[in-house]
Subunit: 466 residues, 4 copies
């Protein structure tokens, strides 16, 4: 094969290697995503730096990263040692230099990514191979460790079980601060006053582990007023844990978080889901912090090793998106949220329902179901489900639920004083325009079907085809 | 294409489907492993039962299992929803019937497998997508929940950081019970008497969370005397948590566990690693229990969702092994442990060293390093490492280590009164005979190299080629 | 797992199976392409119908489809038996019902596809696992078989080696009919008169194997006048073989072919490349015919078996495209050809060059290089190559080339009487708009560089950055 | 990550790269096979040297190696340009340096492999991406080219259709030389005398294209007497084409071929199947020659490009086997052939049948079916087929078959004078011992079933369970 052909090929190869080298050097998400083959090649090179893949490795320990099934080895790109060592989930493994590098690099890419998304004051990011719920528990255990007398968590009510259960898994006691409904609209807001009252009246602040707020949530609950809560935390020297499960996809939520810090508030940990924000399978979360020390404390409390899978998924996905791909997704979501809202407003105006006004919720939308016979309202949910519509939630007021001795009125609606039954839908990252249209079409039919349930009419009478 | 050809093909296909049907019906590990393509086909069929893979699915929720990268989707066989719902890691997901089935089936296959391995009295098994350390923490948090007054964990000392850190991550306090060295041999045994003394003298047994014992460990520590400890637990109504990290690969350890129960002892949770016992990548563990209720309690404490990856890895691997493949691995390990021991005994007899007598450790072997100059002894470790020998540990006595305010003499040797520096190696599942021989050859050279360090001689003088 | 979840999942699965069933029943390319996982699932199901994948198959023959490497098995979806039996490349294999079905189905999908593209009178299609050149040879061998006295092929000159070599591989003798240049433009046209003259003067028409024409080609050669040639073939009862290598991507070429038939002309075989038209790797071709008998004759002359790989590639690609995907590609190509032409016209007007007028070539464009010093003109080609521009061809007039005793003037230009040196580029299927712009930018620089070669100036003098 | 870890990892990586470098330098099959990940990595690196995978490549030609489906790209490791250029199947492509390198390297590895297998005098090897039948046709076309007057092929009868059809596809005329049955045994031998007679009597030897012999074949035909035929070819200056379809797996056949050359015989081309000898899917063949010139002539007659798939399959498989893996397979086959024969002899002695004595056939075995009622004998074949036994052939004497005007008595038995109906089975490369046992068991039952067909008995009467 002539030299000139080879030279050209070599040069082309260098261009590819250059892309990798730049990412390694600058630890920044590239502007344009890498193609799949380059990402896989890089992963393969990294995994070959792990001892289990060394040619001529002799393993005489109790864990040697051996993998029985080639299917399994393949799906893990031959990574086998996980991340973390006994003392620290973020520490380097002598047996697994490649895994260790991949872990560090991914954490730095995530840090760059969240800064790029607008959280410019963040100092450190850690991918934890557990979903948000368990990671929140880990954060609470870490805070408890530095506040040995603590017993209580001040929690702004949100009706998602795992948020509460993250507290209950530790033996901390939740102090539930109900949402308030403002006069002029139907949105549920953080009752900042009640938080402050509680702190003022508290005789021993050391008994309080932290304030635990939530940003991303279902309408009509607003994102918590993290700015004011952060200022309270600073004022009373109380840690602040934020559940930002799917908040990275919203420019508004990011703005609120960034403002909290810029205005001098206190935030210790912000926890977010990898799957809900970056379109990977369930399994990981990201903890963000404003100083390295807090995150070190967290990583050092983790006993033993952990899966590298969520790290790999995130590594592949971020590199594949590049800044441009990520920006596109986020802008598209914002746009589609607006479209979804507009189309639902149009629908409500034709159906004597209305949208609950929730300016402070940039993702979820709540549509009242006032006209539906209350005895049939839950059927709407199962009807939607059986039409392959997933994620729409029907909330019927008046239901009580007890979780671990804690009783909640109107569970699901985030508030003991909700007045309407409603349906929530979300325009979350990755949603397609056609799905919005299809949803409205199908919902309209099913709504009418339920509407007719107490009469003797059927859809046929209205000339509607189901 | 003629009918007869098609018919034959259909019939062949039915044979394959039959294999799957039998496993689903009997929930038993098949005698002979399935081939890869059948396993993959099954996984694909299951994942198509999840809503994110439905044709025509309309997702209007905040988590719709969308996956950005096709590389990522592929490595997860398009599973995306993980396992667990807010309340319970083992609960069924409406959006993900396939994932839920896979999870249930894997738990049942694991139960059948451990029964087949000899733990016949076990009633329930749960794959947890966290490694052993964090899973032990989860068990402790669960026990703490039902024993609200508890503060202490009675812990039989073992010098592996993550064992201790699993306690420290909760805010329970470890009561460290040192190992004892029996007169007639050099093995370290559980100090059962001291455990009983402690319990006898305890004024409020409710303050004790549990006894926390360890089976698999490095020589010269023996596996804990789980029979006696279980009987103590039963007698004093104290929970018993067993760290059986890599014990499923040893018929001896399984025998001890089974005996503990048969003799009427109490065991609440046995925790083992998926990677160390079943040759999958790090990331999961298995919790075994003797009643469904205990495991339900555990699964219900877990907040939120979790990765399905360790479940998939185990599903693939177990089906791929079949009973026969697993038995072969376990028998081969036992045989190679014996060979390794014999070969090391021969080596010691030629080098004025000896093997620490440890009948109660079926996996790990400790070789004294009495002849080596103590100032050079740790170099042996790094020399082994740089020859691509992984897993061999050099323990030098006389070292103190402090972990979270707890100080340990001779850390690494499991005992404050160890007398010898030594090297440990293990014959763990998957080890190859040729690796044993290569290890001894290389170790012999390096041993001699270190031996000569205080003299002026080199290996050349002894005509040894490094 | 609750029944309702399973039911929904089953229903979703049925929707997917429905897609496959419809294709099997109607043998038509679906409107919308299938997703990758469905295609792979289908392939896996088909390959399991082959005996080498039967569970419990006992192979005691000399060819049992055994595959050593799992990498190889995987890349072939476990198909191993190829297609064809000793007598016939299209015949069914008893050992491989799945392969046979796949082969038949693909041929029918291809037939539907070419009809959809406009070749409505075509009756039969056959995917041949050899590239166009060797397939043209096979067609010639087949024609020779039914015309035992034949010795000559009437061939409309085209300067692509493999077109001529397809004749030379048989021992037929090419009668080379030069292109003619029409007065009013610079395009090279089929010299239909000379063809007819030759036939008229021929004493024994049985000595003529066929007329062999070419559609897709580099400008300034036009596509052959297949309408007139077909009419000649009909008139003189001479077979007509058409090399339509990359003509399926052009609506114009398809129109000409369809017209040839509709006007009563004779066409025996039309051969096209799978890779050039359908974006698969090199390796296959498609033979189209107007009666089943001709194609049967072709398939029956093929000795032995053949690879199923090009069939699999085409199956995947067509199903993945769907009609819509294919239409998009073809329309986009047409559009980009126009853009490319327009942009080059603009360039020529600024550089005292011009585009050779070639209305009858819908794919390739020829740009004169009259201003360049002739001694440096070929350097332009290697310069383009080393800038990673592939596919641009620089044709310098005045070169002779001898292929197997046949001498050609101005080889590469399709004509002994060409007047200009020129560059050809093509807008072929899959081209991107940005590539056109980048090409023109780079070409402009290199053109100027060569222009300056006979002067003492450099690009710097013109303030151009290379 | 500490330097020492990285250094160790780098060193391990170098060991891997070293393996590749050695193969490139020495062009020899390695002793021990490479592992899959290393092979894939190498393929990926090679394919990145092709222009279609260059980052920043601008394609303005008519064939740019674009691939639509990522499934297709993946299965071809992103190779897309195939092999060969218009003039020559073995020539280098400027656009595809990686493909070209892979092609050259594979041809050299194949050459080394066949030498290692015992064909030490071979000078050149060429992988042709067509199966044996079509490749034999290509060889004949090449020979015809240098012998322009030739019309006949002297062919030693073998009843496999594709062998004959390889002649018929060219328009050469087969001169069929029947096999002879030696007095002392039942084996069919090459009638060397008749060959010589024909040549002696021939007035114009230039009319003979070649002698075309076959080695591997079904018993009771022996491998052709290639030694004597080669000497005839040398004596009369006639080319010699050998169909060695599955002969590379037999040490005996290799010995005969090597002897032919060493004794001064003439062999022009030896053609063998890649799938039958090296356990890859159908699609390729290997042509071996004793001088570079003959193979160049062959490669230069091939018009256009061709698939690289068979080359990739062979590359992967040979590297994966290594010399040791290949040797193991070949020795195991030899052993199992002996076992199969012994077990069948035992069976025949119990069933009043016998094995046709065929010392000169090292692969296939023929068992007489003298006791079976002739009207039911063919049913045995379909019964075997429907029990998933593939490759066993039932030959019933007395059948005529006409192929393209050539009529054969006792078609399938290679001889017009065969006396027995019989069954053939083969012990070919990759056969498993358990399959031999299962075959005999099932055959025994079916044989008895057919035996009873003319009586009124059933298997039940004989207490045999089917």
């Amino acid at each position: 094969v002539p030299c000139s052909y080879i030279q050209l090929a070599r040069q082309a190869r260098r261009t590819r290697e250059q892309q990798i080298r730049q990412i390694i050097e600058h630890r920044k998400l590239p502007e344009i995503g890498l193609d799949d083959s380059l990402i896989e090649q890089w992963l393969n090179e990294l995994s070959q730096m792990d001892s289990n893949n060394f040619l001529g490795n002799i393993g005489v320990g109790e864990r040697e990263g051996r993998v029985y099934s080639s299917l399994v080895a393949k799906r893990h790109y031959s990574f086998s040692h996980g991340i973390g060592r006994s003392g620290d989930i973020n520490s380097v493994q002598p047996k697994a230099a490649g895994s260790s590098l991949l872990n560090q690099l991914t954490n730095e890419l995530v840090l760059d990514t969240v800064k790029y998304l607008g959280l410019r004051t963040i100092k450190s990011a850690l991918v934890i191979p557990m979903a948000t719920g368990m990671t929140l528990t880990l954060c609470l255990l870490t805070l408890k460790k530095i506040r040995p007398q603590c017993r209580y968590v001040l929690w702004s009510r949100i009706d998602q079980k795992s948020c509460l259960k993250a507290i209950l898994a530790t033996d901390l006691i939740p102090v539930i601060i109900e949402q308030i409904q403002t006069d002029d609209n139907e949105e549920l807001h953080t009752d900042v006053n009640k938080f402050e009252q509680y702190l003022k009246n508290c005789t021993n602040l050391n008994e309080i582990c932290c304030i635990y707020s939530t940003t991303s949530c279902f309408a009509p609950r607003a994102i918590d007023n993290v700015v004011e809560l952060s200022l309270l935390c600073e004022k009373y020297s109380i840690p602040h844990l934020i559940n930002n499960a799917y908040g990275l996809q919203s420019t508004k939520i990011i703005h609120e978080l960034e403002q909290s810090k810029r205005k001098g508030g206190r935030i210790d940990y912000i926890v977010q889901s990898t799957d809900k924000n970056f379109l990977v399978p369930v399994g990981g979360s990201i903890v963000l912090g404003y100083d390295q020390e807090s995150l070190d404390r967290l990583s050092k409390i983790y006993p033993g090793r952990a899966s590298i899978t969520p790290t790999i998924d995130l590594f592949i996905t971020l590199l594949s998106m590049g800044r441009r791909g990520l920006t596109d997704l986020i802008q598209k979501r914002k746009l589609l949220h607006k479209q979804f809202l507009d189309k639902l407003i149009r629908w409500t105006s034709e159906n004597t329902e209305h949208i609950l006004k929730t300016k402070q919720n940039p993702i979820s939308i709540a549509v009242t179901l006032t006209q539906l016979p209350s005895e049939h309202i839950t059927q709407l949910g199962s009807m939607l489900f059986s039409r392959r519509i997933s994620g729409a939630r029907v909330i019927q007021i008046g239901k009580k639920q007890t979780i671990d001795n804690y009783e909640f009125e109107n569970y699901g609606s985030h508030s003991s004083t909700s007045k309407y039954s409603y349906l929530t839908v979300a325009a979350s990252i990755g949603i397609q325009e056609e799905h919005i249209d299809l949803f409205i079409k199908k919902f309209d039919i099913l709504y009418k079907k339920v509407l007719l349930m107490s009469t003797n009419q059927t859809l046929n009478d209205l000339n509607i085809v189901d």
